[in-house]
Amino acid sequence: MSGETATGSQLQHGPMGAQRPGSPFNSRQLTRLDEALTLSSKESGLTFSVYVGELDAPTRGHAETLFERLADSSVLLAVSPGQRVLHIVTGSESAKRLPNRACALAALAMRAAFVTGDLTGGIVIGLRMLADAAGNA
């Protein structure tokens, strides 16, 4: 299940089966990612999505431009491993449930995992912390 978006990025949910040569994640990591995304979205009622790839400078501006395509109740986690930068973006609905302090705490935990090279673990822990902070829908 994948489709090209206007930004040329691959849009997908769930594992794609066997690891494709162009994917940074293997199928087990994609399963973890999908589980974390689906569970945290289901629990909190917010729509989480994760963007992994290069961000144009200024990176915060690019992450916010990406967020413009989503809904008010969405939370975007934009991770650029090449530039070693991550952004969490909330909208008017999701910001009520997720204050900037909660986002900063999740960003800190993600940072700690990314430093050791654990990309999947960092994204999963970030999603869990954000979902916990948002509480139940």
Binding site: D34, V50, S80, V89
Partner: protein, 84 residues
């Protein structure tokens, strides 16, 4: 010792030991997880945007639709950033 024996003993054996150690150290990660991210190395993969499974979003529309056919822009309110 002949020349061939000398070469085998003083070049062949060290080379064989080095190869065995190299395979033991790097072999597993090379076959097991060739795409593993290492901080500081360049990132060459195409951007990917992962969204939750539509079944998990009973009350809202899947972001897949919104991302593919962007309608009205949504304002970004808050969030956080980090670097590593």
């Amino acid at each position: 010792m002949s020349v061939v024996e000398t070469v085998l003993v003083f070049a062949g054996i060290p080379l064989a030991i080095t190869l065995i150690l190299a395979v033991g150290v790097f072999g597993r990660s090379a076959t097991h997880q060739p795409n593993r991210y290492r901080p500081g190395r360049p990132w060459t993969f195409a951007p990917a945007w992962y969204v939750p499974h539509p079944d998990a979003l009973a009350h809202t529309e899947s972001p897949r639709v919104a991302i593919e056919g962007s309608t009205t822009p949504t304002a970004a309110i808050g969030g956080a950033s980090g670097e590593w």
